[in-house]
């Protein structure tokens, strides 16, 4: 996974990995994500299962924090209502950069079953804050949440810290030529 993949034979080469500073920083960041403990609705119960015995979220280095100031990413688990939306925005703004957002469940992605007649439901949390990973499901299984989490880790792994603009342009070219 990530940086350790480059270590094809740890015994012969003495366990030395050659990498850029960026690689190592990203490796460290992606393997110790702290998230803002924030349960909204049904998905939060599956999220609790994820923290408990069977799924054990913490083995990925993911630790809950009760305050946005110490959190790397926020997991929006459940229906975002209009009354709640402003608070989420405030919490998001209180988080320190770099920050990420995982939107878990149909409700947070698009309003879910409440999309049509839910006069008090925000149809998708991406209307107020940027979302990096969407996890579908109503509610998603804990495995799906873990998958979403790993997607976020690989996203952080590839993130540019130095020469951001050049790399962004490079990525864009790749996307344009359908190579990514």
């Amino acid at each position: 996974m990530g940086l350790l993949d480059r270590l094809d034979n740890p015994y012969e080469t003495g366990g030395i990995i050659l990498g850029t500073l960026e690689d190592i920083l990203n490796w460290g960041r992606s393997k110790s994500d702290w998230y803002l403990h924030f349960g909204l609705a049904c998905c939060a119960i599956e999220f609790m299962s994820m923290n408990a015995s069977h799924f054990d979220f913490m083995r990925f280095g993911i630790i809950p924090r009760a305050t946005p100031r110490q959190a790397d990413f926020i997991m929006i688990t459940g229906t975002v209502t209009l009354k709640m939306a402003e608070r989420i925005k405030v919490l998001w703004e209180q988080m320190a950069e770099p920050k990420y957002c995982i939107s878990v469940g149909s409700c947070a992605n698009s309003g879910g079953p409440y999309w049509q007649y839910g006069y008090h439901v925000l149809k998708g949390v991406d209307r107020i804050i940027p979302v990096h990973v969407y996890v579908p499901g109503c509610p998603p299984r804990p495995e799906a949440m873990e998958e979403g989490m790993m997607k976020l880790q690989s996203l952080i792994d590839r993130q540019a810290i130095f020469r951001k603009r050049e790399k962004l342009a490079e990525n864009e070219n790749l996307i344009k030529s359908n190579k990514m």
């Binding site: 049509q116 006069y119 107020i128």
Partner: protein
């Protein structure tokens, strides 16, 4: 006691304030009462040991094409009987006396009915919106309600 007996006893005491008894099984039978006397009727229902309705199960507002209705589902834990009361008020002036002082469980139920239907409960100590934000406009559970385009700059429809 069944609903008919309760109706007879109430009729004796409150005369015209008790409008009628509607009974067509299998749906629940209910008693229509006038809103002005509602508080006294409810007090009688709770305090008279024959009735002993100490438990308010449910209080719901209903929007009908011409008027608004408040439905009270009462239950007695000791006597194990129940009754349904209904008051009907016009849409222009939806005022119903509050029964919050009789059953404290009515407190939040009445706030909810005010929030979603705009029924004003007279005598309620704190009649403010409970579910929706305080600056919300309109009463969503009325049949003619149209959801707003935006709320605080956020688009509401899909």
């Amino acid at each position: 006691m069944n609903t008919t007996e309760i109706f007879e006893l109430l009729r004796e005491k409150f005369k015209d304030a008790i409008i009628d008894l509607v009974d067509n099984p299998p749906s629940d039978s209910f008693i229509n009462v006038v809103p002005e006397k509602l508080f006294d009727i409810c007090l009688e229902l709770r305090d008279n040991p024959e009735f002993d309705f100490d438990y308010l199960m449910c209080l719901s507002g209903v929007d009908f094409p011409t008027n608004l209705q408040v439905v009270y589902h009462l239950y007695s834990l000791n006597k194990k009987h129940k009754i349904v009361l209904k008051v009907t008020v016009p849409k222009e002036n939806p005022k119903v006396p509050s029964v919050e002082r009789i059953w404290r469980s009515a407190d939040w139920h009445e706030r909810e009915a005010y929030d979603l239907f705009g029924i004003i409960f007279e005598g309620h100590h704190n009649l403010i919106r409970i579910l929706l934000p305080y600056d919300w406009e309109g009463y969503p559970l009325r049949k003619d309600y149209k959801e707003p385009e935006t709320y605080h700059g956020m688009r509401v429809p899909y």
